[in-house]
Amino acid sequence: MCGIVGLHLRDPDLEPRLGDMLTTMLGEMTDRGSDSAGVAVYGNTDWTPPGSATVTVLADGEDAQVLAARVSARLAAAVSGRELGATVLLSAEVDVDALATAVRTAAPEVVLVGLGTELAVLKGVGLPRELAAGFGLPGVSGWQGVGHTRMATESAVTPAGSHPFSVGPDQCIVHNGSFSNHASVRRAMARRDIHCDTLNDTEVAARFVAEQIALGAGIDEALEEMAGVLDGFYTLLVSTAEEFAVVRDPIACKPAVIAETEQYVAMASEYRAMAHLPGIAGAHLYEPEPGRVYHWHR
């Protein structure tokens, strides 16, 4: 039960303003969920240096440099560490799998909450505006971003339980709603050796979609497959290094608004999150239809 925001920029001139726009969008959704919040930013060269893999972890207060050194020792490659709120970004000039494996073995106690070459995932417990300020989000650039404010339903209010859920390379999911059979789907995935870090229903969806993508499905197919397995109410925003997609369940009770201009595609739970965007007055504004996958390519 939450607020969702997302921004997929088409005009490179807007990229320096991505973090600023996303911060305002996120703040406007505070009323929909003030337990915790999170954002994911694609293509910020500072947070995700080009030519490197970046892994985002929740390190429970461990110093970023110490953690980077531990991973570096395992990887036999230089690892940079950066602390942003409750999260730590670890980057190295290796491939994504190698870095993720090194993090998991060198620091099994940390929770891995994002991985990829373009993606940084930041999350924490508290008010969205304060968290965004703590991340330094208002100043960052990028070409795509998503955000989430959470009103926790059944799982714990922790940084790990916050959205976005990023479990596949450069993939991200944020959700508004409530799945009604996630426990069974979670158990079925466990039998396929896919395990969740949290009891959050959205993580089940994220892992299901990531599994489908890993099996070769496109984002449409992955979401259609998910719709056949996961029951309940949802508006989902799914992003990858190439795509930005929105889907609602067939009943479509949970709100969603899409705004398209030549400069960007924006999506939010409510219009007010987009009211400040440049050129919004001339945007094509519409609500996604039930059960239909909308997606945009970079």
């Binding site: 479509a252 009770c253 709100p255 409510e270 219009y271 007010r272 999150a273 009211a275 609500e287 039930p290």
Partner: protein, 236 residues
């Protein structure tokens, strides 16, 4: 559909919603005696704006609004220049609400009276459980519209989504475009002369001039779910 001819000030009282705040904005509107003219600026998608108005004041909102705009309106004449969120004019009793833009889901939900005009599209569940309101939509409406519609008239110049009029009671539905599918117990009915007259009157009140009543089809309740029948059990 012009509001009643009261003596109103020549210039509207302008309220900047962002600056004034929701509570003070609504308080000012609710305190008016029915002769007021208001222009609300900078609404920025605010929720619950111009709700609970009980006098025939004129209120123009310049810009998009959030949920429940003009909720429970009882007599005021509210115009929104912009899109509106969920549940515009929900439970309206009387008066008019005009949206020069599109509406999200549940437009006119459970409304008992008055007229709701939406120039653009309306989302899912338009007119859900409507209880006497008249709704005219210039564009299309989403799925499950007029679900359990009890009374009133719903006119759609564009298309209707799936399951139109499911579990319908006594609403008269007129659609000019394509209907994706009809819900349980909703059927197409003949457009008899009295319906042409009813529709013409509604279009006129809504200010729609460029269409004729011949272009519409009429839908209503088959009334087979009014009392339980074992052969209809699957439709319950």
């Amino acid at each position: 559909m012009s509001p009643d001819q009261r003596v109103r000030p020549a210039h509207p009282h302008v309220i900047d919603v962002g600056e004034t705040g929701l509570r003070e904005t609504n308080r000012a509107l609710q305190a008016s005696d029915g002769t007021g003219r208001f222009l609300l600026t900078d609404p920025r998608g605010a929720h619950a704006l111009a709700v609970g108005l009980a006098s025939p004041d004129e209120v123009v909102i310049d810009g998009p609004t959030g949920y429940y705009t003009a909720g429970m309106n009882d007599g005021a004449h509210v115009t929104v220049n912009g899109n509106v969120g969920v549940g515009v004019a929900e439970n309206m009793m009387s008066g008019t609400v005009r949206v020069n833009g599109s509406a999200s889901q549940s437009a006119g939900a459970t409304a008992h009276g008055g007229l709701l005009v939406i120039s653009g599209d309306a989302g899912a569940r338009c007119g859900i459980s409507m209880k006497g309101v008249d709704i005219v939509v210039g564009g299309s409406i989403g799925h499950m519209s007029c679900f359990m519609g009890q009374a009133g008239r719903l006119v759609v110049l564009g298309d209707a989504g799936d399951a139109l009029g499911d579990s319908l009671y006594e609403v008269h539905i007129y659609v000019r475009g394509r209907v994706a599918s009809l819900g349980a117990d909703c059927v197409e009915k003949d457009l008899r002369p009295e319906h042409h007259a009813e529709l013409a009157e509604l279009l006129d009140r809504a200010g729609v001039t460029d269409v004729t009543t011949d272009e519409f089809r009429r839908y209503g309740s088959a009334r087979t779910l009014y009392t339980f029948d074992v052969d209809n059990a699957a439709a319950y």
